[in-house]
């Protein structure tokens, strides 16, 4: 299937327009309309998220331009192309844009929702910005119709425009999070931040103990999840593939994967804390159980990648099943297993809910045994977040958030490197 992105097809439209023999008035008109509409939708989007309003007059001018362009398009499709039925949408849209441009100053600065007993109101800039987004997206997608002579390709082009816009919407929060945390967090990185423990409720000092605690939790969790997980996967793939018991086990793994982290936390609180106290051991047991399904899934996939012929070759030489698994099947599957485990542990490193009742405390010493409580980066960030406003902890909170994201990303990067470097091809 030939793939086209919207950017690619837009470029093509523009290129064709400026080639002299192709530059029909219709194409120029459509290209200009699409560009103006895209501009308007982006403008509307950014004024929504950055809470600014460019003022009545500029918006009216922009809307006016769109409305005039659309009047030409309407003329083309009604008179030249004679597509009466298909033009109804265009007509309604044009009238709507004209009306919007006309009625803009009449929108009150604030539309209170008190009449619906809600303590909120829709501000004018919000209404106008959202309207701009809608006008822009609809405008661009309507323009595709005359451009492609009202064929099914026109529908395709307008659908793709909307899809691309949706993708930008998905990427936007990610960009906001990464950019904000990087900019605000990097200033908090100092030698003290990495080498000292919390001072004054986290307003000064650093996260040294939290870093150590996070590593301890990750290694403990990894030990439990890898031992149990690899063994489970070996049983499921090598020994028994079907049957009612295997089915039950698989259902259990599925359920385990879906259980919310807070439920694990309460489970740890009810079972392990009465025995081991708030301690590393309680924490890693809970976290180990939580990471287990991810490790099992990854190990299963890695084991399945080892072809059957390799195992049969080993049996033919007289090796037992266990020898085959240990010497022949596991070694090539190991990179895949480790990759999955590291990915799972990366997820575990950011978890807060299962640890907050079972292992984590805010002021901690460096633990000496597995029965001591620890501090982790995620719990540290939770405490700082709760203290924002009460103590000057903002700088350290941003830095901790950056460190935490860096930690998780670092784990993912390690996983990818392991996968690429030690990949075994059959």
């Amino acid at each position: 299937m030939k793939r086209k992105t919207l950017v690619g097809s837009l470029l093509k439209i523009i290129k064709n327009t400026f080639r002299r023999e192709n530059a029909t008035p219709k194409k120029i008109l459509c290209t200009v309309t699409i560009l103006v509409s895209s501009l308007i939708s982006l403008l509307g989007f950014f004024s929504t998220v950055f809470s600014f309003y460019i003022g009545d007059e500029p918006v009216r001018i922009l809307l006016g331009i769109v409305a005039v362009l659309f009047s030409f398009l309407l003329y083309y499709s009604l008179v030249k192309a004679k597509k009466t039925k298909e033009s109804i949408g265009l007509l309604v849209f044009t009238v709507f844009v004209f009306f919007l441009a006309y009625a803009l100053p009449m929108i009150p600065p604030k539309y209170g929702l008190e009449q619906f007993q809600m303590n909120a109101s829709l501000l004018k800039f919000m209404i106008v910005s959202v309207a701009l987004v809608i006008v822009g997206v609809l405008g661009a997608s309507f323009t595709m119709k005359p451009l492609y002579n009202f064929t099914s390709r026109a529908n395709q082009a307008s659908a793709y425009f909307i899809l691309t816009f949706a993708l930008l919407l998905i990427l936007y929060p990610l960009a906001i999070i990464i950019v904000n945390i990087s900019i605000n967090g990097i200033g908090g990185f100092s030698i003290d931040f990495f080498t000292k423990d919390v001072i004054k409720h986290g307003a000064e000092g650093g996260v040294n103990h939290a870093i150590i605690g996070t590593f301890i939790i990750i290694f403990g969790t990894g030990a439990i999840a890898l031992t149990l997980g690899v063994a489970s996967a070996v049983y499921l793939i090598e020994y028994a593939k079907t049957g009612p018991i295997v089915r039950i086990i698989r259902i259990a793994i599925d359920i385990l994967q879906g259980i919310p982290s807070i439920v694990f936390g309460l489970f740890g609180l009810a079972v392990f804390v009465p025995i081991f106290g708030i301690s590393i051991l309680s924490g890693i047991l809970v976290m180990g159980f939580m990471t287990l399904p991810i490790v099992i899934r990854a190990s299963e996939e890695a084991l399945l990648c080892v072809p059957k012929s390799v195992r049969e070759g080993s049996y033919a030489l007289g090796a037992t099943k266990w020898q085959t698994i240990r010497r022949v099947v596991l070694p090539p599957a190991l990179p895949g297993i480790i990759t999955g485990a590291v990915l799972g542990l990366g997820r575990a490193a950011g978890e807060t809910a299962p640890l907050m009742f079972t292992a984590a405390i805010f002021y901690s010493k460096i633990p000496v045994s597995i029965f001591d409580p620890v501090q982790t980066l995620s719990y540290h960030l939770l405490q700082l977040t709760r203290w924002i406003g009460a103590y000057p902890v903002d700088q350290n909170a941003w830095a901790t958030a950056l460190l935490l994201i860096g930690f998780v990303l670092g784990m993912n990067a390690i996983a990818i490197i392991i996968r690429e470097k030690f990949r075994v091809e059959f």
Binding site: M1, R3, K4, T5, S51, K110, L113, F116, Q117, M118, A120, S121, L123, M126, S152, N155, Q156, A159, Y160, L163, A166, L167, I170, P173, L174, N180, A231, S232, L236, Y239, A240, I249, I251, A252, D254, I255, L256, G258, I259, P260, V263, L266, F267, A270, F289, I296, T320, K321, R347, G350, A353, M356, S378, L382, I388, A401, L404, V408, L409, N412
Partner: protein
């Protein structure tokens, strides 16, 4: 002869060790359910059906978690209104539209969104989102169902995208090519062939997304006011004195005692049951997809 016997014995022992490890997951599930239920039982006994009621008042001894369940539903529905259209659009873009280089670039980026810890989402929610909503909607505080829905929606998108993408990628090539061969455009193929064939995989992804949204704790607890109340009117998404099941457990657990703690465990049991049912349904749908394309 004896050597052979001991070798067989060893093999049998090893097999059983592996079996025990594999069965451990089942034990954990039973353990979790048993202990949570054991903790929650006094609350069920004490409150009866009032546990689903909407009054939470330690003075009168009423511990109904109905308002929190209502909150969970509202916040999740709001999150899905955001996440399902965007997630589906993202999945279609990734699996059908994006050229290979864009796909290899975008897929890890969207998975990155899934990897951001929930506490970071909560932190960003408190610092940026709540203030933004406060200004934009002229609200009292900005802490609201709306903030929770926005955050959960963003968190659920990557799950829906990656599972729907997998489902659409699994649609056999000949189906697509047959559709294109009879003259359908690419978009018609997506609409009429790819989405209908992969609908069970897509729904599995959506259910997983809902499961994550219901179970998500830290992010949502930070942007709600955490008072056990149904707002007036019930659809008031701007009210701050509201809570969800997970968020209420996290905020109350530290300060509760006696039957109140038991009631929190009871809400965890309810949560467990809901999520377990959802993951079973999701996996049945996924298996259905696999069977469909293996057989055909």
């Amino acid at each position: 002869m004896r050597m052979l016997l001991s070798r067989k014995l060893k093999e049998a022992v090893i097999k059983n060790i592996f079996f025990i490890a594999a069965a451990f997951s089942v034990f954990i599930i039973f353990f979790i359910f048993y202990y949570l239920f054991q903790q929650a039982f006094p609350a069920f006994q004490n409150q009866g059906f009032a546990i689903f009621g909407t009054t939470w008042n330690s003075d009168t001894g009423h511990y109904g978690i109905g308002a929190a369940i209502y909150g969970s539903i509202i916040v999740t529905v709001g999150a899905m209104i955001i996440a399902i259209p965007l997630g589906l659009a993202g999945a279609i873009f990734l699996s059908e539209l994006a050229p290979p280089y864009l796909r290899t670039l975008l897929k890890p980026i969207i998975e990155l969104l899934a990897g951001i810890p929930s506490i970071v989402f909560g932190f960003i929610g408190i610092i940026l989102l709540v203030g933004y909503l406060h200004l934009t909607f002229d609200m009292l505080s900005g802490y609201s169902y709306l903030a929770g829905s926005l955050i959960l929606g963003v968190m659920a998108i990557p799950i829906i995208v990656s599972m729907s993408d997998d489902a659409m990628k699994a649609v056999p090539r000949d189906l697509k090519e047959a559709s294109l061969a009879v003259g359908a455009t690419q978009w018609q193929t997506i609409k009429k062939v790819i989405i209908p064939t992969s609908i069970s995989g897509i729904s599995a992804g959506v259910i997983m997304g809902i499961g994550r949204a219901i179970g998500e704790t830290m992010a949502v607890s930070l942007v709600l006011g955490n008072i056990m109340k149904i707002p007036i009117p019930p659809w008031n998404i701007f009210e701050s004195k509201v809570t969800t099941v997970t968020s209420f457990i996290v905020t109350e657990m530290g300060e509760s005692s006696g039957i109140q703690t038991k009631a929190l465990f009871a809400s965890a049991v309810i949560l467990f049951v809901i999520v377990a049912v959802m993951s079973i349904v999701s996996n049945i749908l996924k298996e259905h997809v696999q069977k469909k394309f293996k057989g055909g």
